[in-house]
């Protein structure tokens, strides 16, 4: 008897392992979509590295100038766009002046999208911020990390004109801003190359300017050594980092809303790994005994 149901038990594990891939796809799709329908607000614990980025911006006195480099494309929007919106709300709420630029051609346009969203807020609308005085968008320029190196000598040599084509000398905000010495902080949203590593290598370690960053989750772990040495003030990691930033600012935005789906998705992945391994080991044990 034992041999017979032993046979049948093995087939369960093997059947489990050989189910069609599309069923797994359907399972993860449902696991991610269903929680979106529930408005469950979850407590988001804040990591020390996220605190570092928040503190670097919060500690700036009003009127300080922040160079914000948007180095990502729409593929990373779900992770970095909440950070972009939270950053603009944070900067404008503290009356910081923001100089936007991008080393990726899509970056400056992502900034425009975030600005359009943030300008709907009542408190920001009340400040009636003006282009060229409170914020400016220098747009994209070719050259990757060499642009960062050149901006150390002079912004104008890399960006003679802003995204709209107005020479820098005619923009009030840019008067007196010659290079990194006249900027109080660099904030970098990065999804790869060129990104935060290049900003550390070419701006922080050569011109000794302060840098805070937000990265896609794939790239965030590689930035931890820079935080430990102090080269990088802090890094927001993936959508979770966006949710932490929103929590610190007290404005639960999109990233907080997605966290319930994120939690369920992670649980499902862990369950898949456990089942997969149980099946793997029981089949291997079966093969050894037979």
């Amino acid at each position: 008897m034992n041999q017979e149901n032993n046979q049948e038990v093995k087939s369960i594990w093997e059947k489990l392992l050989s189910i069609d891939r599309r069923i797994i796809f359907l399972f993860i799709a449902v696991a991610v979509a269903v929680p979106l329908f529930f408005k469950l607000s979850m407590r988001i614990p804040v990591t020390p590295v996220a605190q570092g980025t928040y503190q670097a911006i919060e500690s700036l006195p009003a009127g300080s100038k922040v160079l914000a480099s948007f180095d990502y494309d729409p593929g990373s929007m779900p992770e970095l766009q909440p950070m972009a919106e939270a950053f603009f709300r944070h900067a404008f709420r503290n009356d910081l002046k923001v100089i936007i630029m991008g080393l990726w051609p899509q970056g400056p346009l992502q900034a425009n999208i975030a600005l359009e969203e943030v300008f709907q807020d009542e408190d920001i609308k009340a400040k009636s911020l003006q282009y060229g005085i409170d914020y400016v968008n220098l747009g994209f320029t070719a050259g990757n990390e060499v642009v960062i190196d050149r901006m150390g000598h002079s912004f104008e040599e890399s960006y003679p004109k802003d995204g709209q084509g107005t020479p820098l000398s005619e923009i009030p905000l840019m008067r007196g801003v010659r290079n990194y010495d006249n900027v109080d902080l660099i904030f970098n949203l990065s999804a790869g190359y060129p990104g935060t590593q290049e900003w550390v290598q070419y701006a922080v370690d050569v011109f000794h300017v302060k840098l805070a960053a937000g990265n896609t989750a794939v790239q965030a772990p590689a930035m931890y050594p820079y935080v430990q040495t102090g080269q990088l003030s802090g890094v927001l990691g993936g959508m979770k980092g966006g949710a932490e930033y929103e929590t610190l600012l007290g404005i639960p935005g999109r990233a907080v809303r997605y966290m319930f789906s994120q939690a369920v998705a992670h649980a499902v992945i862990c369950m898949f790994i456990i089942i997969g391994n149980l099946a793997f080991f029981s089949i291997r044990k079966r093969k050894k005994t037979s």
Binding site: S18, R178, N179, D181, V218, A222
Partner: protein, 325 residues
């Protein structure tokens, strides 16, 4: 006291412009926007909620060009040492001197896999990554292909190399042909062992997916530069029970290869294996030169940590190497 303002003028009495500020408690201010050989006068204005007080003008100073930036001496010295080490090892390797490289565990795994594949009598599929010949990782992948092809020729195993770039196809054909000749079996080689599928990342993965399911290979080699499509390849090869030996320097793909494959060459091991196999003087020399750099770093860490620990445990005053250099 809320801060200082720095004023500058080219004339002692008037014409002072505000050129920068310093936080309260700061003791220095560097002015990097000066024209060389022009005399400047500086004044510091302390600002406090009750009013401001100005210092007397400083005596005239002018900046001139440093011919060597001494603040970067450590970097210069280390760069020189490593460059000389690399140059020395490359030239000595060129003169045929044998350079020692430790045994690479991954290469044994490669040999075992080809052996077991031959016993099982099923195909070996070799994938040299999805990038072109200008990537170092692809070159390493093609070098390791040479060894696998030589073994496959000796064991008379069936080898197949589907690629995603035409230039890679040409190079792989040369490598496999040469390996079969060295193994003394030129007759067993034919060109369509190496064939082109598609340039498109996911199209290539989908095509390989079908190939694995159809042919059920005994061994799959994934050596080179991979991106997210590596997940599909590793998973399907796993599901058909193939032995998998991977190797890449892409940090984002290494976790998946280590979890899904039987053996993975991690980052630099891929380049070490290709240097070890190709005996190419410039690869061997570079590897040894890099080891000199690692040796210096290991030594500095060891001594530096020892000093600091002794300082804090025994209260000695040994130098802190982190700030000395």
């Amino acid at each position: 006291m809320t801060g200082y303002e720095i004023l500058r003028s080219t004339n002692r009495e008037e014409g002072y412009e505000h050129i920068g500020g310093a936080a309260p408690g700061a003791t220095y201010f560097s002015d990097s926007n000066t024209e060389n050989k022009v005399k400047y006068f500086y004044r510091v204005r302390a600002i406090s909620p009750w009013g401001t007080s100005e210092s007397l003008p400083s005596n005239p100073v002018f900046s001139r060009v440093q011919w060597f930036d001494f603040s970067r001496l450590t970097l210069f010295a280390l760069a020189l040492i490593i460059a000389c080490a690399i140059f020395y090892f490359i030239s000595s390797a060129k003169t045929g001197k044998k350079l020692f490289i430790r045994k690479i565990a991954g290469l044994e795994a490669v040999d075992d896999a080809v052996g077991r594949a031959t016993e099982m009598g099923r195909k070996i599929i070799y994938i040299p990554g999805i990038m072109d010949m200008d990537s170092m990782q692809t070159i390493a992948g093609v070098t390791i292909l040479g060894r696998v092809a030589k073994l496959a020729a000796e064991y008379e195993a069936k080898l197949e190399v589907p690629v995603s770039k035409s230039l890679v196809m040409v190079t792989c054909r040369e490598t496999v042909k040469e390996a079969y000749i060295n193994a003394g079996r030129p007759d067993a080689y034919n060109d369509n062992m190496v064939y082109y599928l598609t340039d498109d990342q996911f199209g290539y993965a989908a095509a390989l997916d079908g190939l694995f399911l159809r042919d059920k290979p005994a061994a799959v080699f994934l050596q080179g530069q991979f991106y997210a499509e590596s997940l599909i390849l590793a998973e399907t090869a796993n599901s058909v029970g193939a032995i998998q030996i991977a190797g890449t320097a892409m940090p984002s793909q290494l976790p998946f290869f280590v979890a899904a494959c039987d053996y993975t060459l991690i980052g630099e091991e891929l380049f070490a294996a290709s240097a070890y196999l190709s005996k190419d003087p410039k690869l061997l020399g570079s590897l040894k030169g890099q080891d000199v750099g690692k040796f210096i770093f290991l030594l500095v860490i060891l001594v530096g940590v020892l000093f600091l620990t002794l300082n804090s445990v025994l209260g000695l005053g040994l130098p802190d190497l982190a700030t000395v250099f």
